[in-house]
């Protein structure tokens, strides 16, 4: 299997894999929202060995991790969140999920200065719990009762990412002689900045795009075209007066 970064053209088959594997599903637009907000964080596993069926074959996605940064961290600490992870049953236990997760975690720290990554998992999901806790080192923060639509509880889990930060610092410090000094300086700097949790997610509220369609009520899901403030009808108001005055 090929483990690589997600591309926009992968998304229909990622959505397909999600629909095959998990009960929590999303509109294509929600995947786009991930791919265009944090393109560094989502990865796919691709079966590159399938014979071509037509000139328009799309690489078969057998696993994916869809990840994001929390936009408004309640605790004020930059952190990542796993929105969805799954592997086709025909390709499980090959280590795919683990590797997808590790790539995503690394990018969370490098690109977005994440301090930890969080996720939810069904309390009955042995395979996933094994992966998160035993293989990747997540800790269970708490149990959330009736978290899932069908009434099942969730473990809310969390993995501290400082070990990656540590690794990066070491690597940069011990890098090639040429860049040695410079990167040491930078490593220090990054540490400081990291502490402030400072980073550059400066978008205005994302509005329509950013909503998790699995959440929230039906009515919201039906909105097709963004109207209203996005169109600046609000701005029209001041104009109305100046026009008549």
């Amino acid at each position: 299997m090929d483990i690589r970064l997600l591309r926009a053209s992968d998304i229909p088959l990622i959505q397909h894999a999600n629909l095959e594997n998990l009960p929590e599903n999303y509109f294509l637009k929600y995947y786009l929202y991930h791919a265009l907000s944090w393109p560094q964080l989502s990865y796919v596993a691709v079966d590159v060995s399938r014979p071509q069926k037509s000139p328009y074959d799309y690489p078969k996605i057998v696993g994916y991790v869809l990840a994001k940064m929390e936009e408004e961290p309640a605790d004020g600490v930059q952190h990542g969140h796993i929105t969805s992870l799954s592997v086709m049953r025909t390709h499980r236990r090959l280590g795919i999920a683990e590797k997808l997760m590790r790539q995503s975690q690394l990018a969370m720290v490098e690109t977005f200065g994440a301090h930890y990554v969080s996720l939810h998992v069904r309390v009955s999901n042995k395979a996933a719990i094994h992966l998160y806790r035993d293989t990747l080192g997540f800790k269970t923060e708490r149990t959330e009762s009736k978290y899932y639509a069908d009434g099942e509880d969730a473990f809310s889990m969390k993995l501290d990412l400082d070990f990656i930060r540590e690794q990066l610092r070491e690597e940069e410090g011990g890098g090639e002689e040429k860049e040695g000094k410079e990167s040491e300086k930078n490593a220090g700097k990054e540490g400081e900045e990291g502490e402030n949790g400072e980073h550059a997610d400066e978008g205005e509220p994302v509005g329509e795009v950013g909503r998790d369609p699995a959440k929230g009520g039906k009515g919201e899901q039906k909105i097709k075209v963004k109207v209203g403030r996005g169109l600046g009808v609000g701005e029209l108001v001041e104009k109305v007066e100046s026009k008549h005055s």
Partner: protein, 884 residues
Amino acid sequence: MTQPSSLPPLTPQLCFSTTALRDFLRLSRSAVDDTINQNLNALETPAKAGFDPTSTARLGPRPLSHQIDAASCNAFKDKVLFPSWQVRSDLISYCSLVATSPDPDDPERALREAENEKNWERVIDERLDPYSARYFPREARTEQLAHVLRQEMGANLFRTVIRHYEDKQYKRGLKAAEQILKKNPKHGDTMSMKALILNAQGKTDEAFALAKDALTIDMKSYICWHVYGILYRANKNFDEAIKAYKFALKLEPDSHQIQRDLAVLQIQMRDYPGYIQSRLLMLKSRPQLRQNWTALAIAYHLDGNLQQAENILSTYEKSVTTTPLRTDLENSEALLYKNSIISETGDFERALEHLETDCKNCLDRLAVMELRARYLAQLGRKEDAAKAYRALLDRNAEHPDYYKGLIDALGIAADDEAALKAVYDEYAAKNPRCDAAKRLPLDFLSGDRFRTAAKAYLTLMFDKGVPSTFANLKHLYSDGFKKDTLPVLAEEYLKEHSGATDTGGQTNGDSSKGEGAALYFLAQHYNYYMSRDLSKATDFVEKAIKLDPKNVDFHMTKARIFKHQGEIAKAAEAMDHARSLDTKDRYINSKAAKYQLRNNENEKALATLGLFTRAETVGGPLADLTDMQCIWFLTEDGEAWQRRGNLGLALKRYHTVFNIFDIWQEDQFDFHSFSLRKGQIRAYVDLIRWEDRLREHPFYFRAALDAVNLYLSMHEKPQNGTNGVEGGHANGDDAAEKKKAAKKAKKEAQKAEREAAEKAAKQDPNKKSADGDEVKKKDDDPNGLKLAATADPLGDAMKFLWHLLQFSPKNIEGQIAGFEVFIRRSKYLLALRCLKAALAIDKDHPKIPEQASRLRKALDGAMSSLAPKVKEVIDSELASVPGA
């Protein structure tokens, strides 16, 4: 906290100095009302509430993202908001009083009276000299004041209309609009706003009619034009919307808002020159915003002008005096974007230099490393390239391209198996958990080397009990030797390990490990199309099942074997049994449903899928799967209905797939502005380029081809008034049965609909604001009866066919279907074009001579009706097609 507006001393002077009054009214609004949100945000203390994991929830209701504690909220309300409103309303009532009172102190009174007298004379003059300057009587200052106040209250009402509209409080919005219109029935802007609200309520026709009225009344109002554009946009007529926006802009050239709306539509419609124009204007009006520079660069870039795109980015960079922070993501991405533009020019030397200087601290480390490795390789700097690829492999040893890059850089010959293997071995040793390093050598190794490596790999996987081993290796089967060797190795493994599980030895009682895994591998081997021997496959799978009777994978493969034996019903049953062994896994659930669909059990399949769809979705599993854009189901369901002869439902499903692609195309809309804010420009460009070829996706192709073929068969065998329920392929006894089945299906569908409606009716009305939240448009043809009743199936087929031919021209099946449609519509040139395209794809396709001779015949028959020129062209073209 914002300060409340304070009340200025209330004097008639204040009221009469209308500028001051107006300023006060405007400020008190913009400082308090318009910023309520901001003010509330400012009250928020993020850390106070502690970490709230539900904010990251995938399911369950989303809490308000801003939790402001009640005390500060109330304080804001009591100390700022209400007092400000009070002040304003006090002032307005005071000034109203002034305006309606006698005004003996009016300083202009004498003047006005004098003027009026003069005017008396002027009227006469005017008759003689109609071109003399117009005289407008001076208004009394009380009248002026009254005007301002009326306007303020009118504007307030108009604002209220807009507010309600934005908050989707449509009924209230309409009420406010009516209030204005009662006083001033010809207020174009209000009429327009009313139209906007009507449109949001789904009353599209009424909305357009009203908006048009508004325009005829007030052609000069940019609001009317803007709204007109918005209506068109909302109804997806983007070309007309662009026109309307352009009018609005002509009337109000300084409106950023309209300019932005126009720009977004232009890029959505891929009007690059227009987009460049708009972005130029936007940049000129706000050059201080980086976004505006980036956007213009994107416009040039997409239009193919790399040079100009780069220039724009550079110009901005030069204008910045402070060094951006290293953590400035927008900056980091803009630099990498520029680098991607340079690399598109093919100048890798310069791209590398730019990357190593400007981008060396970019936050997307992976991108920097990958680009660097690629440039080095392109430039032939092998040693550095090798180093760069090694660094990438240290990050991710599961990406075959990196090995390839490293091997190329090392200059290892393709047939030097030992040297190649050594590269992979190094990484296998470094990463014991790495799969690729162990497996990829199997691709190039041959003979004994292959045998040894394959044996080691199989042993490892079987010991671990990895059920996906076969899936991971089957691509090797294109090599005959490997195809023969792998099963032998698996048998060897079996011989060495058989019985081990019985003693519970090395496998810890997990029978999917060891022997079970090897048996499973062999079952899949004999089930695979390149090495198929279904009775052997059955043998092995039964042995495996005996070892572990509850193994889902084993039963799943058993079902697949049935399928290949043509035992569709047994296959469905077996897959459902596999499903029952792990009811928590949706994958096996999906497979069971798919097999039921293949067995034409639509209802059962839907029930199976319903075990995992969201229970609260109105309309049940079908609605959920449709909402969630579950293409595979819609397609398979449609195909099954078609086999059952229910053309209506079949068409319905194919059309649903078609509509989903429309949605996907529209989905990019919001990102034109969103991505500029987020600054992830490379990802955005990737999206735009993908959207351009969206409908080449096999998902589209399959459903569209199904639809075209179904329409073709409907054309051949017109329906006999059974509401499209009887199938094109139905014949004899079959037909009666199918009719019965379809009747039953229809009944069931109606029942489901009824239930859904009841459920919807029972829903808590408080959940949605009763006041006209977006209405889910009711589907007036849920069973596709109207679709099936079409009088022009070939015309309907065109909708699907155009996209097939446009986006997948190299797919021969599309061309063949295209020919069939065109020849029936007597479009001989188009038929010929499909035929020639098919010929270019596969000259030996059996359909080609057949179609060619039919075209020839058709032409001979149509001789008289064709223009001689056309006939000549077709003749000469057709001459080169075999069979014609």
